[in-house]
């Protein structure tokens, strides 16, 4: 079976690299499932999970807080804004982040503050949803 190289990086470090049979991601225009020899594609990602299926069928999932996805026929690059390893994500942290965002929203003064707060809220919600799914075992 054909495979492709996958790199998931965030500014804080390398998250994942290796060969994969399929990659799933939340594109801004909709859900994406990428197989080897996909047409070149460049898209923004929504906060959520990026799942990588290896050639042997095992799956890894990573949380990204948005970012950019580049697809070439044999190369997939995820430039994540904040990507944390799923197992490292701690639920309390997500709740705290959401709490912070909500608090910030409550005493937001300017438009940019509101925009930032909304953004944090969306990220926190996506993270919580991701964790819920991970707990149920069908990530």
């Amino acid at each position: 079976m054909a495979s492709m190289h996958v790199d998931i990086v965030s500014i804080e470090g390398q998250i994942h690299q290796g060969e994969a049979a399929m990659v799933f991601a939340h594109g801004e225009m909709g859900e994406l499932g990428i197989l080897p020899r996909h047409a070149p594609l460049l898209t923004r990602l929504k906060p959520g999970a990026v799942r990588v299926r290896d050639a042997d069928g095992s799956e890894h999932s990573f949380f990204v807080g948005g970012g950019i996805l580049e697809v070439l026929p044999h190369l997939v690059t995820v430039l994540a804004d904040t990507a944390i390893r799923a197992k490292d994500v701690d639920e309390a942290k997500a709740a705290a982040a959401k709490d912070r965002a909500a608090k910030m929203m409550a005493n937001a003064k300017t438009e940019t503050d509101i925009a930032r707060a909304t953004n944090e809220m969306i990220q926190a919600e996506a993270l919580i949803e991701f964790l819920d799914k991970a707990k149920k075992g069908h990530t």
Partner: protein, 286 residues
């Protein structure tokens, strides 16, 4: 024993200085590995985003982003990244020298420059020498985040977009290894793509959403990552340079103490001899 006493006070003060420099050396030594690890961790992102941009420059989009098109140079901007604190040997001085040289080169071609400064030392330097400082951010701490840098970056990229500056350079003390840090002044905008393996000649990405919007995000991220990389490389350079500089000062203080000790012993000996001579002289008189 007037002379000896003075020397003794001097020895004491040099010893105190030595204690401080030794402590600073140890602190820098313990902070260094973490700073270097952070620097290495950020490298893959910088490499990957440059790779994506290099691919992009070989594609044939109907739209060329201004960050990728070079134009006639009339005005330039420097983003100068320095440390917040001194006691790091010639790290900042060497950097400023390199920047000033670059500014002079451009000036001889009739190109004026403006500056965005990151780090306290660069801020005070440009305050002293003068020059148009358009943005500044200082006191980033040991763990700088991209968040802290966004404002400064935006000022510069907005100026570039508006055509106020035609080129942007990034200057920072590049980390070569623990013993060597080299001042680096390199072009940030327009982006100079890497030579990559040849891709088919006529192709383009599918862009989701619009290419304009997407390339904007991508290139903004690219600039952010480059500046962030420069900043954390500066912190790594800072700790290494400080460690080396403080080790040298500790050694120098040791040498000074040795010299002073010798002078002190001589003075003491001379004093004893003098006293003996006096006693002997006194006894002879009786």
């Amino acid at each position: 024993m007037a002379g000896a006493k003075e020397i003794r006070t001097k020895i004491k003060s040099v010893k105190n200085i030595q204690k401080i420099t030794r402590a600073m050396e140890k602190v820098a030594m313990s902070k260094m590995p973490k700073a270097q690890a952070r620097m290495r961790a950020a490298r893959p992102y910088a490499e990957k985003i440059l790779r994506t941009i290099s691919h992009l420059s070989q594609a044939n989009p109907e739209y060329r982003h201004p960050f990728m098109a070079s134009r006639e140079v009339k005005r330039i901007a420097f983003i100068v990244v320095s440390t917040d604190r001194g006691m790091a040997g010639g790290l900042n001085t060497n950097l400023f020298r390199a920047v000033v040289r670059a500014i002079r080169d451009w000036k001889s071609k009739g190109v004026e420059s403006e500056y965005a400064v990151i780090g306290n030392k660069a801020a005070t330097f440009f305050k002293r020498v003068g020059g148009k400082v358009v943005a500044q951010v200082t006191h980033l701490g040991e763990r700088p985040t991209v968040d802290q840098l966004l404002g400064t970056i935006k000022v510069v990229t907005d100026a570039y977009r508006a055509g106020e500056v035609d080129r942007v350079f990034l200057a920072y003390p590049q980390f070569v290894n623990t013993m060597t840090q080299r001042p680096s002044v390199r072009q940030l905008l327009p982006v100079e793509p890497l030579e990559t393996a040849k891709l088919p000649t006529h192709w383009d990405y599918i862009y989701e959403p619009e290419a304009v919007d997407l390339l904007d995000t991508l290139l903004a991220r690219y600039v952010e990552s480059q500046v962030y990389q420069a900043v954390i490389e500066t912190t790594a350079s800072e700790q290494s340079a400080r460690m080396v500089a403080m080790k040298a000062s500790t050694d120098n203080a040791g040498k000074i103490i040795g010299g002073l000790q010798l002078a002190y012993n001589k003075a003491r000996q001379a004093n004893i001899t003098k006293e003996l001579a006096e006693i002997v002289g006194g006894a002879a008189a009786v």
